[in-house]
Structure formats: structure tokens, C-alpha cells
Symmetry: C2
Subunit: 395 residues, 2 copies
């Protein structure tokens, strides 16, 4: 990629046969030096084997990570003891080739639930990855973790100190807010105390991956990993700068996931303002963003504001219908057309509304008229293609 890359990391992505097509299906990130690492994982009680293993490895203090191995084709979820064994064996084989301990290798899996890992293909991939490692292998790795994604997702930021944060992500369906529902792997060459890493990552995830909705389904495999190897020889310095840069990378990756949502034709920001508190605003925004009726209206460029008010009405937050106002926003988040005032429709220009909603990026703002708190989520529409993709995923 032409974006800045953190020092001391090498990556690779290639095809080893986990997918029947010729597409890349296995990826590796290796740090020359041991990294401190933090992870945020799915809140689903049905957790994939790699999630259980990574969680256990990152729970103890002082975990040191050298590599992250990621595969597609199988989620290695609902695979029981054999699945945990396969995750461990994969890490073990990888570690042997890299000359580190198995506990220093994290694993990520994505693909069909319940399908055992094809260990023959995995071993072939593991062996082929090592000679393919390159400092500029980010794009290959990003391509190799794609499933129904149509394009790779990369983002990076350079700090004033010269240190860099870079990340890749995948995710297209099974995307819901409040639980980081995809894979993301972020690395920095800044030197960061292990104790601080988790706080930085959680704050960034809250503002990024927890603000997106594709379909409201929560995955068994969601994982966001942050690795720091210190190779730039600088410390974080200003924590606020580092946090802002990390959050920026996460937001870019999260938005890329929504833009590439399964079947998505539109990127829509759902904003709720005038709420009593931020949690309520977020809850209503999320309810609007998961509503199939709202999402199909977005698809059809139908300014069917009644569906938005109806979704707000069953979000579980107390509201006064007579105080609701609704605007259409342009791609910059500026209100351009007020559809509802005091709970009733304005005499808005229907043709202008349709014209705006036919563009690729816009938003809605629902004001509750209760207070000063606000929140937003990023979402996409529900199209015929979403149904096509998911009605025939495994066949």
C-alpha cells in the first residue's frame, strides 16, 4: 500500500486451498521483535476456537506476541475439542517455522461455521507463508482475509513522533454494533506499555466497530487485535494523539466494512440527537439501522420517514412522538431537508428527497427534543443482493 507502514512487521497472504477458488485464503503477520498485544472479542456466547484460544492467551499479564495467522474458508466455530486442537496445532506449526513459542502466535478464522479446518491445506499454507513475508505485504494479507468482501480494507496513520499505526480488516455480513463483528488486525511500531494497550483499543473500538451495522447478526468470530512492537524507537508521547490516530484507523476500517456490506448500495449515517443521554441515542440509532423496513426503504430511495419513527418507537427508550423531528443529511452530515417536525410531516419536496437518497452516501438525523446527547451509527441498505448472497452462501 502507498500508506505509511509501521516498521518491524512483515506480512504475507496467499492461496493454499482453503477456498476452492484461486483467491488468497491464508495470511500471516510477523513482528521481528515480541509485541505487547490487546484484543477485543465477540460478545456471542458461541465463540469460535481461535477466539477462545486468543482470549486465554491475552488474559494473563505480560503476553508477548510474535505473529498472527489468519485463515478463511472455515470459521473453526462449533467444532468442539477438535477445533481447539486444530487452532493449537496451526499455531504450533507456525511457531516452529518462525522460531518462537506457540503461545506467541495468535490465530484468526473466518468462513463457514461448523466446518473443520482443512489441516492439510493449512499446513501447506503455513509452510508457504514464511518465504512470502514482506514489509509491504499488507495488501496481500488484507486480500487473503476477505470472504464475501468485495475489496480489501486497509488504513494507517503516522504520528508526530514518526511512529505508524496500520490495520487491515475484513467483514461484510454478520455485522452488528456493540460487538466488533469482524476481524481486524492493527499494528504499530510505537513503544507502548502493555498495561495501556487495552484501554487504547477499547476506546477506539467503541467509536468505530461498535458504531456499525450491516444486518444485526453477531458473529461467533469477531476479533480486533492491536500489536505494538516498539520498532520505531519512540514512545506514545501524547496519549491523546495516539488515541485519536488509533481511533481514526479503526473508524476508517469500520466504515470500509459498511461500505462493502453484503449487497450494500448506500452508506448511511443514522444520527440521533436531542436525547437525554448518549446510551439512549445510540440504542435508538441502532434500532433504526437494523430495521428491515427502514433498510429496504433506504435501498429504494424512499423517504419513508414513518418507518424511521416507528423503529424509534420500539427501541425501548422513552420518547414523546410529538417532539420528534427528522432531517435528511448530505454526505458531510449537513441537514438539507427537514421531513418531520413535531412528529408530523413537513411539506418537503419529495423529488429532492429521492434525488439525495439515490446518491451513494447520505444520512438521517432524528431529534428527540429531550436533551443535548447524541450518537450515530453507520449502516447500509438491505438489497436484493444481500438476499442472493446469503440465500446461497454455502452452495
Amino acid at each position: 500500500m502507498t500508506e505509511p507502514m509501521p516498521q518491524g512487521f512483515r506480512l504475507a497472504g496467499l492461496h493454499c486451498g482453503l477456498k476452492r477458488s484461486e483467491r488468497k485464503d491464508i495470511a500471516l503477520l510477523v513482528s521481528d521483535a515480541p509485541c505487547v498485544a490487546a484484543g477485543v472479542f465477540t460478545a456471542n456466547q458461541v465463540k469460535a476456537a481461535p477466539v477462545l484460544r486468543d482470549q486465554a492467551l491475552l488474559t494473563g499479564e505480560g503476553a508477548r506476541v510474535r505473529a498472527v495467522l489468519a485463515n478463511t474458508g472455515s470459521a473453526n466455530a462449533c467444532t468442539g475439542e477438535p477445533g481447539l486442537r486444530d487452532a493449537h496445532t496451526s499455531a504450533e506449526r507456525m511457531a516452529a517455522l518462525l522460531g518462537c513459542a506457540p503461545e506467541e502466535v495468535l490465530t484468526l478464522s473466518t468462513g463457514v461455521i461448523g466446518l473443520p479446518l482443512d489441516m492439510t491445506a493449512m499446513e501447506r499454507g503455513i509452510a508457504a507463508l514464511v518465504p512470502a513475508l514482506r514489509p509491504d505485504g499488507w495488501a496481500d494479507a488484507a486480500a487473503a482475509i476477505m470472504t464475501t468482501d468485495t475489496r480489501p480494507k486497509l488504513a494507517s496513520a503516522r504520528l508526530a513522533s514518526g511512529a505508524v499505526i496500520a490495520g487491515i480488516a475484513k467483514g461484510s455480513g454478520m455485522i452488528a454494533p456493540h460487538m466488533a463483528t469482524m476481524l481486524a488486525l492493527i499494528a504499530t511500531d510505537a513503544s507502548i506499555p502493555a498495561a495501556d494497550l487495552d484501554g487504547y483499543l477499547r476506546a477506539a473500538v467503541e467509536e468505530s466497530f461498535n458504531r456499525i451495522v450491516v444486518d444485526g447478526d453477531m458473529s461467533t468470530n469477531d476479533t480486533v487485535l492491536l500489536l505494538a512492537n516498539g520498532a520505531a524507537g519512540v514512545t506514545v508521547g501524547d496519549p491523546a494523539e495516539f488515541q485519536a490516530a488509533l481511533t481514526g484507523v479503526c473508524v476508517a476500517l469500520a466504515q470500509a466494512i459498511v461500505r462493502d456490506g453484503e449487497g450494500a448500495t448506500k452508506f448511511v449515517t443514522v444520527e440521533v440527537s436531542g436525547a437525554a443521554d448518549e446510551a439512549s441515542a445510540h440504542q435508538i440509532a441502532r434500532q433504526i439501522a437494523v430495521s428491515p423496513l427502514v433498510k429496504t426503504a433506504f435501498y429504494g430511495a424512499d423517504a419513508n420517514w414513518g418507518r424511521i419513527l416507528a423503529a424509534a418507537g420500539y427501541a425501548g427508550v422513552a420518547l414523546d412522538p410529538a417532539r420528534l423531528s427528522l432531517w435528511l443529511l448530505d454526505a458531510d452530515g449537513q441537514p438539507v431537508l427537514q421531513l418531520v417536525e413535531g412528529g408530523q410531516p413537513t411539506a418537503y419536496d419529495e423529488r429532492a428527497a429521492i434525488a439525495l437518497m439515490q446518491t451513494a452516501e447520505w444520512g438521517v438525523r432524528l431529534d428527540l427534543g429531550q436533551g443535548a446527547a447524541r450518537a450515530h451509527v453507520w449502516t447500509c441498505d438491505l438489497s436484493h443482493d444481500y438476499v442472493s448472497i446469503n440465500g446461497h452462501y454455502r452452495t
Copy 2:
């Protein structure tokens, strides 16, 4: 209809111009004698004008109802004070022609949210309905309350005493469980103490309309009304018999709504067994039934059981993934194929699974391995047609 009809009720349904097409769009039910009545209404905080009016009328003790007027074309929701005035004026005009008090006329509306009632068409319809009233007008009335429904929904039951319970319903989208999301109008000629009516209706709704899911969206207009006029000259007698018959009528109407769900190609019973308590079982069944990924897999006849386990895992109920078992059920609810045992796939016959799922009616049973409680919901698949219908509803 050829089904039994309760005595002392007359109905009509006709076209008055609320819809642009020639389809029937206004309906009336009149009882010769005053009825005791009970209602169950949407839990959405954004409630339509007729819902607010009916709720107020049925709240006091001793409400007496003579007629129910129902219109399509406009939901009369998010219409503010003018909407309440229109609902009241409609009842007033209807009452004047029937020779009763406006408070004895309930109203139901369904259609687009935010669109004011076309009072010119309404008055034309109100005048035309009275001469059209007939004791066997149930089918006309059922046809006149349809929106995206493709067929009218009627059900009835005869009690041992000779009294009859009959009902009509509409509903196709904006259908979610736990809140009776549609219109249903049920009448009986049995004589029932007003104080008992509400209990009978709530118990019946809990087992019927609260067990269905089309899309998880909760409407602003959901209403179930039960009217009893005593015209059969018999009392309820055995309360258990009456409750069972009423519940049976409600179940038939609720199932008819799911079978006619927007774009639905399959009727699927989602059963959860082995739960610690019924509420938990219901919550998991509902989460499975609203999942877009599960519903599209149903559409594609893809036995993608991993999506079902994943949905169960984020339903907010504690569960042990290693104790989950899953079966495909035939149309009679009998298990025919076990897909999952102890959280992992069995060596089931994929072709047999596809063959069953390609039929119009079947089910799934998820056993949690925790206890003896169970619950079910009835749902449908998510198809291309759902997207077509709702992407272009108003145009």
C-alpha cells in the same frame, strides 16, 4: 365464508377511493346489540390516532361497542391533532348513520404512516357501507383490510353451546412477536361478562399473535379487538372451552399472517426446548426468527445451522454451546434429521436436509440441554420479494 358465523353481526367491505387501485379499502362490522369489548394494542410508543382513541374508549369499565370501522390507504399515524380529529369525525359520521353514540364506534387504520386520512373518500365510504351490511359479509370485510396481504384471513370456531367465535385479520410486513403487530377483529355471539373478556383475549393473543415474526419491525397500529354481543343467547359455560376456541381462532389468524408474510416462500416453526424457563426459550426462538442470516438461509433451503447457533448465542440468555442440539422438523413438528449434537455437526445427509427445506412448511428445534421448558414462534423466510415489496412500497 362457509365457516360458522356468529349471530347478530353484519359486515361490509368495499372500495371508496382510499386506494388508487380498484381494490376494497374500507370495512365495517356492526352488532345489532351493544357488545362488551376488549382490545390489545401495539407496544410501540409511536401510536396511531385510532389506537390512542380505541385504547381510551376501552379503558373505562362498561364500554359498549356497536361498530368497528376499518380503513386502509393511511395508517393515520404521526398525524398529530388533525389525525385524532379525523378518527373522531369518522366515528361520528358512522355513528350518525347507525343511530348510536360516537363512543360506540371503534376505528382501525392501516397503510402509509404520516399520510392524513382522505376524509372525502372516507365519508363516501361510510355512507356506502351501511346499505352493504350483510350477516355473511365477513369475506368482504377481510378483503377490505388487506394492504400488502395477498389473501384475506378468516377463522372461526363453534362452541358446544352453539355460540360461534369468528375473526378476520390483516398483516404481512412490520410483523414482530410480543406485540400483536397487525389488525385483527374477532367477534362472538356468546354472552360474556365484560370483566372476563380482557383476560380471555390477552391469553389468546399470548399464544398466537405474540408467537409470530415476519421481519421484527413493530407497527404503530397493531390492534386486536374482541367483541361479544350475546346474540346466541348462551353464556360461555366452560371457560376452558371458550379459551381454547378463542385461542384456536387467533392461532389460525396469526399463522395465516405468517404464511402471507411479505415475500414469504416458507412457513417455519422455530422451536426451542430444554430451556431453564419458557421466557428464555421464547427469547432465543425470537432471536433466531428475526436473524436476517437465518431467514435468508431458510429462503435458500440452506441447512446453515451455524447461523442458528450464532443467533442463539447473542439472544441474551446464558447457554452452554457444548450442550446444543438441533433438528429439522417436518410439517407436523416431528424431528426427521438431527443436524447438531453437543454443539457440533452430525454426519447428516445434506441432500435430505435441502429436500425438506425446499418444501413449503417445516421447522427447526434447538435443544439447550438445560431444563424442561420450551417455546416456539412461527416465522417465514426473507426473500428477494420482501426487498422488492419494501424497497418500493410507496411508489
